[in-house]
Symmetry: C2
């Protein structure tokens, strides 16, 4: 479809650079996360939410959680009072909820290497984070191919220079050119070196979680590491109702170090749960409660985030589908359940099953992201880049999503009902048929009145054609190249860097490469 | 960007046709409009809504409405008790609201030529309608060019064969190859002949409104015409606070015939109103109240729809922008105000400023349409086709929007909290780690469990590539050609048709062509 050549920017480079610098400066004056004034959207009554909570407790009590290949975790649950039979762990009604409520923080701060970029995670705030975990990349130049560590660094840099994304994310893509058992070193190193935003570590094996945590300790120093939350891990349940060694083992490492654990059941409706919205929500709640309770038993007070990833399914092929109504309804229900539980909530993003940044990709992404903005999500993984059901991260998709997601601040700001917002006098001063372009109220408010995309083209057809007639993906292609060309590394203490590299070299040399 | 050649459909033609037929049959079993179970999204407190209503009354009282070139309308307002000074009409606080509340129906039926397609307009229903008023068309074959009567007929046919769109709409595009003062004959004729869905008539001059109404009388016969609502007109205020001869004159024609009037202030924030959300809502309410009151004074009980069209503006160029947060907030506020007033509400659609069906177009459209689904819109003009700020209707855009908008039924259906929806037993019967693909609950619910797009591609990358690697716009290009090729005219009584053509020929011959 689209050609790979980079179009000229629609405005001169100097103008755009200056504008971006001004915008960055403006952004940095504000807090490096969003604050919600708009009430969250509720789609189910309190009675409905109570019914779902009741059923989640029934699942935990009757079915329980299968703990796969991790006897130590079974013992941890048994020690807290759970009913254990072999590797099956069952919980009395309300037990997990009470454990979580007793010690999990409602809101906490993740420290960034640059403290001005610390993010606050919990109501009424929202933190935007790039996509996670794709083995492939897509761009207009190469099409789709396996991701490399070079791609990984590129996305670290694009995230660092983004004024929309507040957090550096984690496995932005899989560096498939590195051995599987040593990728985490280079990923965590890149997050420490090429950005100063908060980041996530590895969870593919508890030893890799430990390496990630150890590297964070070097980067932040012992004192900060001991007293603050500087790294986050993401654990997915093996739905239905199962947690395995790698995930719970990694969760244990993060929790015992008082670091952050994002507990996310991943549910493809019809496969890992029944096909209904309420069932997806019920099972997600049950599985997440068990995971979050585990972290609180390991270390009461260690921060956890209640996560949900839910998708619908094609009746024809069994493929996951995105931007459909059902996952948005699941999202709204789970956000409400997280508020009732009193922990930060993660879900949503710019999701699509499309293979390229086309109409389908954008429509599905926008439907997903609108719900994300509305539901009361506190931590939004997958804000930018997601393509092909998560199998690929797109360079153009990243830029387009990041650009559109910058609307979230204006949207969450809600309706201004101050005297200036109501603007009665301005309307009384104008007369019928008179325009407001030059009115004092307009002049006083114009600059911040309307959110505006940097990549959308709102010109006339004629002007757009004169500028080359490029579609949005072609404009985004030019934009990511420009951003990477202009990238400059943030400061990193030389001694810290040397210690980190030495530690990493020693660890990497201590065991052979492996692709499992 | 995209090439114009029509790709093969991703499934065989027979399979797709059969599937479409089955889908059509399924749709026709249901009511030909949607029913909302989901609670509407509220973004402002009751106190906030009251403040806006208070200020709208202040505007009507202090500034009033300028009635341009239409002394008869001034007299009509004076007769109802308004304060008149020259062409300026002012209303005591609450006067317009009381007039509207006293006689405007909360809900009414628009009769379609095929009574099985009658639409019910008002809460809790939603009627989806194609876009309106574009002078240009866009498709992948021709690019952008002026619209013709052939295009108009094509969009009538595409709307007729749509299982998503409930209503035929009005000026689907401007047939610029016909004289301005006679276009309405061919447009209304096409709506009567090539479809049997409900439709809209002309409002560009009161005489053209009268012609439209007269043609509807012939098509439906005197008895139906006298007793039912068979045609609708759309009037835009000249914001701020002004109504002109063509619009109020046309409104008078529709209202005195007990036909439907859609009263829509069109506000580009910063130009026709102050730049804030609350001010756009206040002024829209004031202007719409005056317009709806006018119709009720002319004929108490004539159906009116409270409309709003609000867009934001680019700070750089003054161009309207779409899919931005501010117009969605305006939409939510006005839907709430319409509920309080007790009249059906029209707003929203799949809006964009993009010139082609690209990422920008889809993102902006989806953000707009998600709010449209959520707010409690009863009549949704501009559901499908809108490009370039409304200057163009796109063939591919129409198909893509119509396809995506078919999700509205599932979305408005909300969360099923019945025993089947909660699906507790299915979860208790399954065990940890077991999939649900073959469970009795899944098999019983699978077919209707998830909404699914017909144009989105959810296949694997490899399968998608094998199918030609087409983007969504290319698939839509094939789809509209297929739909037009398969189109068959609905039945129309031969005598009615002859009477209509004879009447039209006589009227057309009675005055010279003109391009004003």
């Amino acid at each position: 479809m689209t050609t790979a050549q980079a179009p000229e920017p629609t405005t001169g480079r100097r103008g755009r650079t200056a504008r971006q610098a001004a915008r960055l400066a403006r952004t940095m004056e504000h807090l490096p996360y969003l604050t919600r004034k708009l009430p969250p959207v509720e789609v189910v009554s309190v009675e409905g939410l109570e019914a779902i909570e009741h059923n989640a407790d029934t699942l935990l009590q009757e079915v329980g959680i299968e703990v796969v290949n991790f006897p130590e975790a079974v013992e941890i649950f048994r020690g807290a009072g759970a009913d254990v039979q072999g590797s099956r762990v069952r919980f009395e009604r309300g037990m997990c909820r009470e454990i979580v409520r007793a010690s999990a923080p409602r809101i906490f701060t993740q420290r960034a290497r640059n403290p001005e970029r610390n993010v606050v995670i919990g109501d009424p705030h929202m933190v935007l984070v790039p996509t996670y975990g794709s083995p492939f990349i897509h761009n207009l130049d190469d099409g789709r191919r396996y991701a490399t560590i070079e791609d990984f660094r590129n996305f670290v840099k694009l995230t660092y220079t983004s004024t929309t994304l507040h957090h550096g994310g984690g496995t932005l893509c899989e560096p498939t050119d590195l051995p599987v058992n040593k990728r985490h070193f280079e990923m965590v190193y890149s997050h420490i070196r090429y950005t100063d935003k908060a980041f996530m570590g590895s969870v593919t094996h508890p030893s890799r979680a430990q390496d990630s945590v150890d590297m964070a300790r070097i980067a932040f120093g012992n004192e900060v590491f001991e007293n603050e939350h500087v790294i986050m891990g993401l654990a997915n349940a093996n739905s239905p109702m199962s947690w395995d060694f790698n995930m719970l083992g990694s969760a244990k490492v993060y929790a015992e170090n008082n670091q952050i654990m994002l507990i996310t059941p991943f549910i493809l409706g019809g496969a890992m749960a029944p096909v209904t919205v309420a069932a997806s929500a019920t099972q997600t709640l049950a599985e997440a409660l068990a995971g979050m309770a585990f972290c609180q038993i390991v270390r009461p007070g260690a921060p956890v985030i209640f996560g949900s990833f839910a998708s619908s399914m094609s009746m024809q092929t069994g493929a996951p589908t995105f931007g459909t109504p059902e996952p948005q309804l699941v999202l709204f229900v789970l956000a409400a359940l997280a508020r009732r539980l009193g922990v930060p909530f993660r879900s949503g993003g710019n999701f699509t099953a499309s293979k390229l940044p086309d109409y389908q990709a954008a429509y599905e992404s926008a439907i997903s992201f609108m719900a994300t903005m509305q539901a009361g999500v506190n931590f939004n993984l997958h804000t930018a880049g997601w393509l092909e059901g998560g199998l690929a991260i797109g360079y153009e998709k990243f830029m387009l999503d990041e650009d559109q997601a910058s609307m979230a601040g204006a949207y969450l700001g809600g309706v201004d009902l101050t005297e200036n917002g109501l603007a009665l006098q301005a309307m009384l001063d104008g007369g019928p048929g008179q325009h407001f372009l030059g009115s004092p109220h307009t002049l006083a408010n114009f600059e911040n009145a309307f959110w505006r995309s940097d990549l959308s083209d709102n010109n006339s057809f004629e002007q757009w054609e004169l500028n080359g007639g490029h579609d949005a993906a072609e404009r985004a292609n030019a934009a990511w190249k420009r951003r990477l060309a202009e990238y400059e590394e943030p400061l990193l203490d030389q001694a810290v860097h040397e210690e980190l590299v030495a530690w990493m070299d020693q660890r990497k040399a201590s065991f052979p490469d492996s692709d499992v």
